[in-house]
């Protein structure tokens, strides 16, 4: 059974790399991202370097690919080994870039991923001033899901000082990153 799983995942990775069909690429990536939800697959996914595959896909042009890749990262980044790996591979930066996506799912996954990637060492990066500013804006979003998530981020992961600082800054710069479309 375990062997079967590894082989199946290997087939998915191979297809993702080999196929020319954008549809197939999306489907396979979504498949892998869903596999990343279950901790039992983490060993296999690391072995097949799916973490790198997700990180690379964050820079794809296709919005769907980015959505699925950040979803996959959001699903597996709580595991300590995975977290360390992503931080080691400078994964925080591309995740922060996802915050400016116009796709709400991508933004949601990015916010959660940033929460889960926050450690004493990475805190400075994951709660950098522009990020906190972004969260302030999200917390005012009409989308309840997004505003809830941003509120949790501000309350649990940022210091009041950080929030205050970001608030002052955003007073001066009225235009920011546009909110996601839906």
């Amino acid at each position: 059974m375990e062997l079967g799983r590894l082989e199946y995942l290997q087939a998915l990775v191979t297809e993702f790399q080999a196929t020319d069909s954008p549809d197939a690429k999306e489907q396979v990536l979504a498949n892998l991202a869903n596999f990343a939800y279950d901790p039992r697959n983490y060993g296999h996914l690391r072995q097949l370097q799916v973490l790198d595959l997700f990180l690379d896909a964050l820079t794809e042009d296709s919005e769907a690919l980015v959505e699925f890749a950040i979803g996959g990262l959001c699903n597996l980044c709580l595991d300590k080994t995975n977290k360390d790996y992503i931080l080691e591979a400078n994964g925080v930066e591309p995740v922060i870039n996802c915050l400016s996506s116009s796709n709400e799912e991508t933004v949601m996954s990015a916010v959660t991923t940033l929460m889960y990637l926050t450690t004493p060492q990475s805190r400075q990066q994951t709660t950098a001033l522009p990020v906190v500013e972004c969260m302030l804006r999200f917390s005012l979003s009409a989308s309840r899901r997004l505003s809830n998530l941003a509120t949790v981020f501000l309350e649990d992961y940022c210091t009041p000082l950080q929030v205050e600082e970001a608030r002052n800054l955003s007073k001066h710069t009225a235009v920011g990153i546009p909110l996601p479309k839906d």
């Binding site: 199946y8 087939a11 998915l12 297809e15 069909s21 549809d23 197939a24 999306e26 489907q27 396979v28 979504a30 498949n31 991202a33 869903n34 939800y37 279950d38 901790p39 039992r40 983490y42 060993g43 769907a64 959505e67 699925f68 979803g71 996959g72 959001c74 699903n75 709580l78 595991d79 300590k80 080994t81 709400e104 799912e105 949601m108 996954s109 959660t112 929460m115 889960y116 009409a142 989308s143 309840r144 899901r145 809830n148 998530l149 509120t151 949790v152 309350e155 649990d156 839906d182």
Partner: protein, 357 residues
């Protein structure tokens, strides 16, 4: 989402059902057609939105059906939510995310009073605190799951000699924790003990009697029920005079041999058919508001006895009583063959008999 839309307005779009994917490669095809979608913790929720409920006043039935998968905290109809004509939309909040997960899996696309339900998570109804707890629960779950895995691997590396006993111990632990905490891969339903209690708690008091009325008879005749309440009720009364409920074991004894039978070799098709049959049977019970996997028996108030008819004549009354008792004896002997506790069922009618004469 339009700024004016509010939580309801934006809900519509993200709940629009995506079309199933038609172009999947053979090896990636699942059992059911599905859209291309990635689930993350953000999309999941203890809140389920149920669309496509026929507007027939079937809220009680709907909630009973969902309560099979775990305790429900709250439920109500969403009157303002845009719905198709003649259907209603409901919101159900489960106590545990895992239960909502199973309920969604089992109930989505299920037929309910002639209409297909569309069940989806509704995280937009969460409060900030609920969102926070959801994220923390996921954190705890992963920590637990991966820690155990690590410990398991560590043992394996460090002490290969002791591995036999250790192995089984860890497997055991892992299995239990995975299935009850949050087995995500193939989630098994969780049934908290407080299940029935909290289910009842939710009913408006007017319905209370009726719901209690349904439960007691369900634990009697799982095997015989044909789905009609009326029919099954008379059956109950014939077989168990005086509202006497058979021991729990009777149901288990009857189901156990079936399970054992499966262990024998069976061709795959037979196996699938059997599974389908059992699923359907499960659905049938589900419709009646029982849940099968429970060993807990809920006993409600006794059913009223059939009123004795006065024939206005002593001799007629005597023969009527005789006939009634005879019927009971016959019924008792039937139940004796099916239930493996003959003494119990024999003793009860006898007591009754003496009292009446």
């Amino acid at each position: 989402m339009a700024a004016a839309g509010g939580p309801l307005g934006d809900a519509c779009r993200h709940h629009a059902q995506l079309g199933a994917c038609e172009s999947r490669a053979k090896y990636r095809e699942g059992r059911r057609p599905r859209a291309v979608k990635v689930y993350t913790i953000n999309l999941e929720s203890r809140y389920l939105l149920i669309q496509g409920v026929p507007a027939l006043g079937v809220m009680k039935e709907l909630v009973e059906q969902f309560a099979l998968y775990g305790a429900i905290d709250e439920y109500h109809a969403l009157d303002e939510y845009p719905a198709e004509q003649f259907t209603e939309v409901y919101l159900i909040k489960f106590q545990k995310l895992q239960c909502a997960r199973v309920a969604k899996k089992k109930m989505d696309e299920r037929s309910f009073f002639g209409s297909l339900l569309h069940v989806c998570y509704a995280p937009e109804f969460e409060t900030v605190q609920e969102t926070r707890e959801k994220l923390q629960d996921r954190r705890k779950y992963i920590a637990k799951a991966t820690n155990q895995r690590d410990r398991f691997l560590a043992k394996k590396v460090e002490g290969p000699k002791k591995i036999i006993s250790k192995n089984s111990e860890y497997d055991c632990q892992r299995n239990t924790s995975e299935s009850c905490a949050a087995g995500n891969w193939d989630p098994s339903p969780c049934f908290p003990n407080s299940h029935m209690v909290s289910q009842n708690k939710g009913y408006p008091s007017g319905n209370h009697n009726q719901s209690q009325f349904i439960f007691p008879q369900n634990d009697n005749n799982c095997a015989e029920t044909s789905g009609y309440f009326g029919q099954s009720m008379s059956l109950t009364q014939n077989v168990q005079p005086g509202g006497h409920t058979p021991p729990v074991s009777s149901m288990q004894q009857r189901t156990v041999p079936i399970d054992n039978g499966i262990e024998r070799f069976m061709p795959r098709t037979t196996h699938l058919q059997e599974r389908k049959r059992r699923r359907e049977e499960g659905n049938k019970f589900a419709l009646m508001g029982t849940y099968m996997d429970s060993t807990e028996v809920i006993i409600g108030p006794q059913l009223p006895e059939v009123p004795k008819v006065d024939m206005d004549d002593d001799s007629l009354n005597t023969s009527a009583t005789l006939i009634r008792n005879k019927l009971k004896q016959v019924a008792a002997s039937v139940s004796r063959t099916s239930v493996e506790k003959p003494k119990d069922s024999l003793a009860k009618p006898l007591v009754k008999q003496r009292r009446r004469i």
